[in-house]
Amino acid sequence: MENVLSTKDLCKNYGKHRILKNVTMEIPKGSIFGLVGRNGAGKTTLMRIVTGLASPTSGTYSIGGVMSNDKKILAVRRRMGSIIESPAIYKNLSAYDNIKLQYINLGMTTYDTIQDLLELVELQDTGKKKAGKFSLGMRQRLGIAIALCGNPDILVLDEPINGLDPQGIIQMREILLRINHEKHTTILISSHILEELSKLATHYAFIEKGEILQVLSSHELMSKVRKASRLKTTSTELLCPIFDREGIEYKVEDDENIDIYSDITASKIFNLANEAGAEVISINENNESLEGYFMNLVAKKDGIS
């Protein structure tokens, strides 16, 4: 599959702090590439570098096959839209004027498609209202519209659903899926809300302390996500020593719930619970979430089993 964006050994230092460590990844054309990482993991720095807002300390990246050290990279950037951290908009201008200004930044001379963009992000009725008076959700959608000016091949979105209410999140998801499906725009997106990201992403890169831990497709992730049986019991405390003795792999979620990863029958769980003097309230199949998978990856990196 053709890659629209790739990085090779990207490093970024701020003083003595190394923010990115040899980041190498490839973003396939047409994908929604989810960047998953904790606060300070280096997601925003990576996005700032590929959008030209920051320069790498070492390493290279390429957009549409053009290397970052090539002068043509400035021209290629016109094919890229972005929102980094929060939408950069002129609060003293209307939605229409903000978009028109971005058209001018891109060197476009016809403005017929502005109305289409406003309709796409559902801001067509805002008229002359200044962007400073918009709600957070409206500003985020205006940011998306600005990022979409010039019909870019790739969108870089850093936390685009941050601070949005549930309806705003759904709206944003629908817009992004529509752009991806209808215009085949490649989207590089980061979000803290991993559950939401899992509804969008076709590919994932897990980043921790500036290092890429893993890059995989959503299909690969699905097959790797561990299946578990969620046991609800009256006492996890009594059960743990018995599970340890039997060599059963498990994780205590709270006082009542244990996730059991070992392949073990329900009747055996009942027998062990009887032996421990604990009651079984319920046993359900519990697939590990994206969040859980990420936390396990981080724990492995930190050497915590």
């Binding site: 290629v76 908009i89 002129y90 971005q102 010039g150």
Partner: protein, 284 residues
Amino acid sequence: MIRALRSSFYRFFKTGLFFKSLVFTAAIAFFLIFRTCTEDLGLLPFQQPRFINNAFITTTMLTLVYVVPFGTAIFSTIHTGSDVAFRSINNKIATGISRTQLFVSDLIVTLLATEVSVVIQCVIIYLYAKFAPMKQNVSITNHMINIMLCVMVICAAFCAVYVLIQYFSSNKLLALIISLLLIPALVVSSELIEMKLGEPYRLYQYEYHEDEEEPEIIGWEVNPEYVGGTAREVLTFVYNTSPYTYRFAQADQSSLKSETLASGIVFVVSTALGLVSINKKEYP
């Protein structure tokens, strides 16, 4: 470069800044006319029209260096400062507009707004003088044009410094405060330098006699406040290049030349610094 300029000009007109600047410019021109009449002549404009002459025009034009930079400070904060504070500068960088182009385009718009303002104010001052009742002979002279050009270069230097400050600071208010304080700081420092340079080398000791009109000099000592050597040369250089000195107010040819040259250097150095900093700085 054309993209960056078009973008900068679009915002200049769309935000209404252009018309606000025009109103501000006209208001300032009339304020300066009023000020020259009341402070320099001691009467209201309509009471002393016969003092309206070429000297009135040049005196009023020279006061532009006290007022126009304030307008430029506010303008650059609204125009360039907003770009940095709203982070919309990121949108431009992300579309492949180079940082150099960004800085230059903002500088050009600020320069243009400032210089147009200077010219309009000069024209208003001239027209007032030309058509005031009972005026003396008023005509455009080379000296007048030289003063206007010198004021334009001084204001250009302020433009470059202010755009530099705006790109340095992501905080619009802080940048505005620094920009506005720069002018009084220059005025005060110029006066201090003037005082320092005016200190005599010798302090004489006198003895007064009842039968003599003049006191007798009985000795002298070196004035500890006197600045000599390299420090004096530096202070003299700064004094000769400041637009806020008595020397500049006299507007003789040599002071106009040295002032124009100094402001030109400030403009070039500030622009160079701005270009270096914008290319190195990472904006949030």
